[in-house]
C-alpha cells in the first residue's frame, strides 16, 4: 500500500471506528485496526466481535495493500501530527508513516488474521435522518437494564408498522415509547431488538453527521449505513448482532384509560421532584397527592433522620383524588426526556402505573410503576 491522505481525514476515520475496537481481549488482533485500499478508497475497520464498524474515504492509491496495526498507538500518534499530508506505506507487515519531517514505523499483523465483519442478507430496510434517529434513541436509551432472566428487555425494540417506527425500552419498572412517523408505507411490518450498547454507538457515531442513515435488518444482524453524498459508495457502516427472542407484549402495559389527569408545567414539577428527592430515604420514595378539585398536586417526602418536605403545584386537573408513591429517580428519568414545556400526568390508583406525556405532541410516552405503601 502506498497512499497519501490528509491528517484531518484520517483522524476522523480513526475516531469513528475506534468505538468498535476492543478494549481488553484475549485476542490481540481485536485491538487492531484494519487498513485496506481498493478502487481509490481507503477503508478502516474495527471489531470486538459484538459490533463491527467500517469507514471509507476516497484517496489516491499509488499501490494497493492491507495491514492491521494496534489501534491505540496508531490513533494517538496520528492525533499528534500536524494537519498536513500523510504518506502511508506498507513494507513487510510494517506501516511506514511519513508526514513532513516525521518518519515513523509501526509493527503490524497481517490482514489475514483480522476477523471478517459479516455481510448482511438484507430483509428489510428503512431510511431516516441520522441526527433525528440519535435524538430519538437518546430519549429512551438509559432505560433498559441487563437481565439474565429476560434478555429481550436488555435491548431497545424497533417496531415498524405501517407508517410508524416505535422505539421501546423497559426495565420492567418503567417503559418508554418513542414514535417516529414516516411518509411512505413499508411493505411489511417487522421488528427487531438491538443491544443497548449498539444503540449507544449509533448515537455516538451518527448524531453529529446529520445525513440519511439506512437501517438494514437481516438474519441475526442489523446494519446502519451512511453513504458518501451523491454516490452509492458507503461512508460508515455499523454492523451489530440483534437480540433474539420476542419482546414482551408491551402495549398491554400502557393504560388505555386513567381516572386522574393533571397538566403541569414541566420545569416547575421537575424542580419540585428534585427538591423532594433530597428528603427521601433509601427507598427513594416520594408521595404525590392529586386533588383535582383543588387543581393541584401535593408532593411529599420524608426521611426519618433528616426531616420532611411538602410542596403544592397547581395544574389543570380532572378525575378522582389519588394518593400514590413513586421512586423519584424513575420520575426524573421520564421528565428529563420530555421536550415540551407542559406535561400530562395520568394515573388510576395506587397499584397501577402512572403515565407521563408531553402536551401537544403524541410522539413520546413514559409509563412508570408506583411504590407500594
Amino acid at each position: 500500500m502506498n497512499i497519501n491522505i490528509l491528517q484531518n481525514k484520517l483522524k476522523e476515520g480513526l475516531n469513528i471506528i475506534g468505538r468498535g475496537s476492543s478494549k481488553s481481549t484475549s485476542l490481540p488482533i481485536l485491538k487492531n485496526v484494519l487498513l485496506k485500499t481498493y478502487n481509490n478508497f481507503l477503508n478502516l475497520s474495527a471489531t470486538d466481535l459484538e459490533i463491527g464498524i467500517k469507514w471509507w474515504t476516497p484517496v489516491k492509491v499509488d499501490k494497493e495493500g492491507e495491514l492491521t496495526v494496534p489501534y491505540n498507538s496508531f490513533s494517538s500518534f496520528i492525533n499528534l501530527l500536524p494537519n498536513k499530508k500523510i504518506n502511508l506505506n506498507i513494507k513487510n507487515n510494517n506501516l511506514l508513516i511519513n508526514c513532513e519531517d516525521y518518519k515513523t514505523q509501526i509493527n503490524g499483523i497481517s490482514a489475514k488474521e483480522f476477523p471478517i465483519i459479516p455481510k448482511i442478507k438484507e430483509k428489510e430496510k428503512i431510511i431516516i435522518n441520522s441526527s433525528f434517529l440519535s435524538d430519538s434513541l437518546l430519549q429512551i436509551i438509559d432505560i433498559p437494564s441487563l437481565s439474565k432472566v429476560k434478555p429481550e428487555i436488555s435491548g431497545i425494540l424497533f417496531s415498524f408498522k405501517e407508517k410508524e417506527l416505535k422505539l421501546v425500552a423497559t426495565d420492567s419498572y418503567r417503559l418508554a415509547e418513542k414514535k417516529i412517523s414516516f411518509k411512505k408505507n413499508n411493505k411489511d411490518d417487522f421488528s427487531f431488538i438491538i443491544p443497548q450498547r449498539t444503540a449507544r454507538e449509533v448515537v455516538n457515531i451518527f448524531k453529529e453527521i446529520n445525513k440519511d442513515v439506512e437501517i438494514i435488518f437481516g438474519e441475526n444482524q442489523i446494519l446502519f449505513r451512511v453513504k458518501i453524498e451523491d454516490t452509492n459508495e458507503p461512508y460508515i457502516e455499523l454492523t451489530s448482532k440483534v437480540i433474539e427472542g420476542n419482546y414482551p407484549d408491551y402495549e398491554s402495559i400502557i393504560p388505555k384509560k386513567t381516572k386522574t389527569k393533571i397538566i403541569l408545567d414541566k420545569d416547575d414539577f421537575l424542580n419540585r421532584v428534585k427538591a423532594a428527592s433530597v428528603f427521601t430515604s433509601k427507598v427513594n420514595e416520594i408521595n404525590l397527592v392529586f386533588s383535582p378539585n383543588e387543581e393541584e398536586v401535593i408532593i411529599k417526602s420524608n426521611n426519618k433522620d433528616l426531616g420532611n418536605y411538602e410542596t403544592k403545584i397547581k395544574g389543570r386537573a380532572e378525575g378522582d383524588e389519588l394518593n400514590i408513591s413513586f421512586n423519584y429517580r424513575f420520575l426524573l428519568d421520564g421528565l428529563n426526556n420530555i421536550k415540551s414545556s407542559e406535561i400530562i400526568f395520568e394515573a388510576s390508583d395506587e397499584n397501577s402505573p402512572g403515565v407521563i406525556k408531553p402536551v401537544g405532541k403524541s410522539d413520546f410516552l413514559y409509563v412508570v410503576m408506583p411504590i407500594k405503601n
Binding site: 490481540p28 471478517i116 429476560k150 434478555p151 438474519e219 433474539e244 420476542n246 402495559i253 427507598v283 411504590i371
Partner: protein
C-alpha cells in the same frame, strides 16, 4: 458417540492445532446443535464467529470430526443465541416495594410466570390434596381429573399452584399448548371481541389449546354472555380430552348467578380446596420467602409472625417486606421488639370500621340484588336473605341498636330486626354455606 462427547473430543484435537488465544476467542460457547447421518451442524454465539470459523477453521473442524466419526461428510454453521447471556447489572439494588409490570414477567405464549414452580411451592396439611391433584394433572394432563377445580380464600397459593401445574406441563411436554388467563382478562377479551365483531378470531384462538387454566372463575358470576361463550369453549376442549383447570375463591355451589349447566360442569371433575396453613407451615413459608429475598430472619421473629398472621400467605409476605424495609432504613437487624412494634402499628390501622353504606353496597353486590329492594318491602327470597345479612352486619360490626337498624333499613319493625339477626346467627352455626358467604362478605368489606 453422542454429539456432546463428539464435540468435546473434536475440540481437544483442534486445540492442538491453533493458538490458545484464537481457540478461546472462536471456540468459546460453541456446540454441535444437530448431528444427522453425514452432516453436523455447529452452533456458534454470533455471526462474527460464524464468518471466521467458516473461512479459517472449517478444514480443521471437518477433519477432526471425520477422524472421530467416519460418516460425517459435511459441517454447517448456525448462529444460536441461546448460548450467550448478558451479565446482570449488580449496581441496581432492588427496592422492595417497587412494583413491576406483570406483563413482562409472563411468558408471551402461555401467559404463565416462570417464577411459579412446584419447587418453591410449600406443602402442608392444608394444601396436600390440592397439591396432589395438581401434581397428578401435570403428569398426565387431560386424562385423570378434568376439570380440576381448586378453591380457597385469597392469598393462600391458588395462583401459584395453578401456574406451577402450567409451567410443569409446558416444560415437560413441549408440544402441549398451555394457556393461563385470569377470568377478568378472559371477560374483557370476550367483551372486546363482541364489540369489534371478532368473535370468530376469539374462538379460533382457544380452539387449539391443550391445557386451559382460568384463575378466579368466580368473576364470571352474573356475566351471562361470557358464561355462554365459556360454556362452548369448555365443551369443545373437554370433548377433545383437553385439560381444563379452574380456580375460585369459593366452592362452585357458592358462586352466585352462575348458570346451572356451568356449575354442573365445574363439579364434574375433581374439586380440591386449600385451607388455612398451620403455624409450622406458616413459619416454613416465611423462612423460604425470606431466603428468596436474601433476608436473615430470626427464629423468634419468624414464629411470632407465623402465630399472629393466620389467614393469608400474602399477608405474611407483606409483613416480611415491611421488616426488610425497616432494616434497610435503620441498618439494624430486626429483633422481636421491633417486630412487635410494627404489628401494633398495623393493628391500629385495621380497626377502622366500615359504614352503613359500605355494608349495604357490599352485601347487595355479593347477592346481586338491588340496594333499593333491600331497603324496600320486597319479599323475594334473595332480597329477604340479603336484608337479613345486612342487619346481621349492622348489629354485629357497627353495634347499632335494633330500633336504630329498623329505622335505617326502611322503617321496619324492630322485632323483625331481632328475628333477622338471630336467624343468621343460628344459620351460621349449622349451615356451612351461609357461614362461607358471611366470611366472604366480611373479607370484601375489609379489602376495599
Amino acid at each position: 458417540m453422542k454429539k456432546e462427547n463428539l464435540w468435546r473430543t473434536a475440540l481437544a484435537q483442534i486445540q492442538l492445532d491453533i493458538s490458545e488465544a484464537n481457540f478461546n476467542t472462536w471456540f468459546k460457547e460453541t456446540n454441535i446443535s444437530t448431528l444427522k447421518r453425514d452432516k453436523a451442524v455447529v452452533a456458534v454465539p454470533n455471526a462474527f464467529v460464524k464468518e471466521w470459523i467458516q473461512s479459517k477453521y472449517h478444514k480443521i473442524i471437518l477433519k477432526s470430526l471425520k477422524d472421530l466419526n467416519k460418516s460425517i461428510k459435511s459441517v454447517d454453521y448456525i448462529v444460536s443465541h441461546s448460548t450467550t447471556t448478558p451479565q446482570e447489572n449488580k449496581e441496581d439494588k432492588k427496592i422492595i416495594n417497587q412494583m413491576e409490570f406483570q406483563e413482562i414477567a409472563t411468558d408471551h405464549q402461555t401467559g404463565l410466570n416462570p417464577k411459579y414452580t412446584f419447587d418453591n411451592f410449600i406443602i402442608g396439611p392444608f394444601n396436600e390434596l390440592a397439591h396432589a391433584a395438581g401434581s397428578a394433572v401435570s403428569d398426565s394432563p387431560g386424562s385423570i381429573y378434568n376439570p380440576l377445580f381448586l378453591y380457597s380464600k385469597t392469598g393462600l397459593g391458588k395462583t401459584h399452584l395453578l401456574q406451577a401445574v402450567g409451567n410443569k406441563i409446558k416444560n415437560n411436554i413441549k408440544k402441549k399448548r398451555v394457556f393461563y388467563i385470569p377470568a377478568q382478562k378472559f371477560i374483557s377479551e370476550i367483551i372486546s371481541a363482541i364489540r369489534n365483531n371478532k368473535m370468530d378470531e376469539f374462538k379460533y384462538r382457544y380452539k387449539d389449546i391443550d391445557v386451559l387454566i382460568i384463575d378466579d372463575i368466580q368473576f364470571l358470576s352474573g356475566k351471562e354472555k361470557t358464561q355462554e361463550e365459556f360454556f362452548h369453549t369448555f365443551n369443545e376442549l373437554y370433548e377433545k380430552n383437553k385439560q381444563i383447570i379452574l380456580s375460585s375463591d369459593r366452592h362452585p355451589k357458592s358462586i352466585s348467578a352462575l348458570t346451572d349447566r356451568l356449575r354442573s360442569r365445574f363439579e364434574g371433575g375433581m374439586i380440591a380446596d386449600i385451607g388455612y396453613p398451620d403455624t409450622e407451615t406458616r413459619a416454613a413459608i416465611l423462612k423460604t420467602k425470606a431466603q428468596e429475598k436474601d433476608f436473615s430472619l430470626d427464629d423468634e421473629v419468624c414464629y411470632y409472625i407465623a402465630e399472629n398472621i393466620q389467614k393469608s400467605i400474602r399477608e405474611l409476605e407483606g409483613i416480611l417486606n415491611k421488616l426488610i424495609i425497616q432494616q434497610q432504613l435503620t441498618q439494624k437487624s430486626i429483633d422481636i421488639n421491633t417486630t412487635k412494634k410494627i404489628f401494633d402499628d398495623i393493628n391500629q390501622l385495621s380497626t377502622v370500621s366500615f359504614t352503613f353504606n359500605k355494608i349495604l353496597k357490599t352485601v347487595t353486590d355479593f347477592y346481586d340484588v338491588g340496594e333499593r329492594d333491600v331497603m324496600g318491602s320486597s319479599r323475594k327470597r334473595e332480597v329477604v336473605k340479603s336484608r337479613q345479612v345486612v342487619i346481621y352486619f349492622l348489629r354485629k360490626d357497627l353495634n347499632y341498636s335494633y330500633s336504630y337498624i329498623a329505622k335505617k333499613i326502611g322503617g321496619k319493625d324492630h322485632t323483625t330486626v331481632i328475628y333477622s339477626y338471630s336467624k343468621i346467627e343460628k344459620e351460621i352455626q349449622k349451615n356451612n354455606e351461609i357461614k362461607e358467604e358471611i366470611s366472604h362478605i366480611k373479607e370484601n368489606l375489609m379489602s376495599v
